[in-house]
Symmetry: C2
Subunit: 242 residues, 2 copies
């Protein structure tokens, strides 16, 4: 499985994904699940992927091919040329739906299913930041002021902390802390989500990925934060009356 | 859905269940999901139920009928007469499996499925405390020192807090706090789990349900604990460095 989360805040967008992929429990691998399409200052699109690796890889590859390697690339097929973020989401949704359908046809005789969900977050110069969750069928929902975060994959373990601390006014620094603690709870409780992590911050109006980093297993800052959070939770727990 | 959790500690067992049942989102009702079979001082068995109400109600009803209303009740069919807790788990598993099979037959033509999981916790005089999670198929696993809690239903939201604070040495007071906070996180993040709650404590060796209570929506103690926990979490979050 996977855990990916995106926050849409007034100050910008914060995105975090893990990298664990597994087929059963005895075939575990590390794959990047965060993909950046960027023309700095003009347009930035970040896609987070959860689900069957064959579906997500093919979808991302087709989205890339539709722009860079394609002389016919135009605003209806290339997400770097689409005039609005809504149309970007529609292109991504259509591509995901096609790939899912093709893979499903192949898998029918095995009585298996494969699907994937994506988070698409971006901004083009002159437009607002937008963040979409694309369902396997290709339809999508969008983050709003009322619900300023989207999650895919193993989203339940890390939801309580987000429900409690994230609002549209959360700063980018606090937001990074929130997604990392949300991921920390997930990592502790579910083996199918694993380090390293990919973290990206997109500041409002910048139209480029700002601070971004890969957090490796054993990263001392992440370990210290995780330890401090555990200790704080235990202390809070001790101090609560019943 | 449902959230039920049971803790098996050296000092005793602590059990908590919600009461929300829903068929779709527009048909919501309140049903007790905690069932007590008790001969105080001799034997206590508590069953928590998650899943299709038609399956869980019929299973519990058959378990009751096999003891109280049945002149043929014997140690192979009545959980109050079975010589060990293991055999209690086997009777419960067999009953659940039969009921699930019967309901599944009825539902096949509707292309629907129904199943349920149970937590069975108990002690008989002269035996140790034991706690089992019975799967829909009737097979089961048992709580141990390494894994001193079992959960059924919407278990993911409330698992991180249990992973962090529960060990076999946790006191019964702390354990009640832990399950209530685990439930609180679940209630906040998932609408299909709802108040009131049923809480029961079984002290080691007592072979009876000790303190038990129904916690109604708006219960001032639970609301205060929930509020204090939210505040403590937010304070801890603010104080964590990144």
């Amino acid at each position: 499985m996977t855990y990916c989360v995106g926050l849409l805040l007034k100050a910008g967008m914060v995105l975090l994904s893990d990298t664990r992929t597994n087929a059963g429990v005895d075939n575990i691998a590390t794959y990047r699940k965060m993909f950046v399409f960027e023309e700095p200052g003009e347009r930035v699109i970040t896609i987070l992927a959860a689900g069957s690796l064959s579906v997500t890889q093919t979808t991302i590859a087709r989205l890339q091919e539709a722009c860079s390697d394609n002389p016919d690339a135009d605003a209806t097929t290339c997400i770097m040329k689409a005039p609005t973020m809504l149309q970007v989401a529609e292109i991504v949704g259509r591509t995901l739906s096609q790939v899912t359908g093709e893979v499903a046809d192949k898998l029918t005789r095995m009585k298996q299913a494969a699907n994937a969900s994506l988070i698409v977050a971006g901004q083009r110069r002159g437009g607002g930041m937008r963040m979409f969750l694309i369902y396997p069928e290709g339809n999508f929902i969008e983050a709003t002021e009322d619900t300023p975060f989207l999650q895919i994959g193993e989203h339940k373990y890390g939801k309580p902390i987000l429900d409690r601390v994230v609002t549209p006014d959360t700063s980018l620094a606090e937001a990074q802390k929130a997604v990392l603690l949300s991921m920390d709870s997930t990592l502790r409780s579910n083996l199918s989500v694993g380090m390293p992590l990919d973290l990206a911050v997109i500041e409002e109006g910048a139209c480029r990925v700002g601070p971004s980093r890969r957090i490796e297993a054993g990263d001392p800052d992440f370990a210290a934060m995780s330890e401090a959070w555990s200790n704080a939770l235990r202390a809070a727990f001790r101090n609560i009356g019943i």
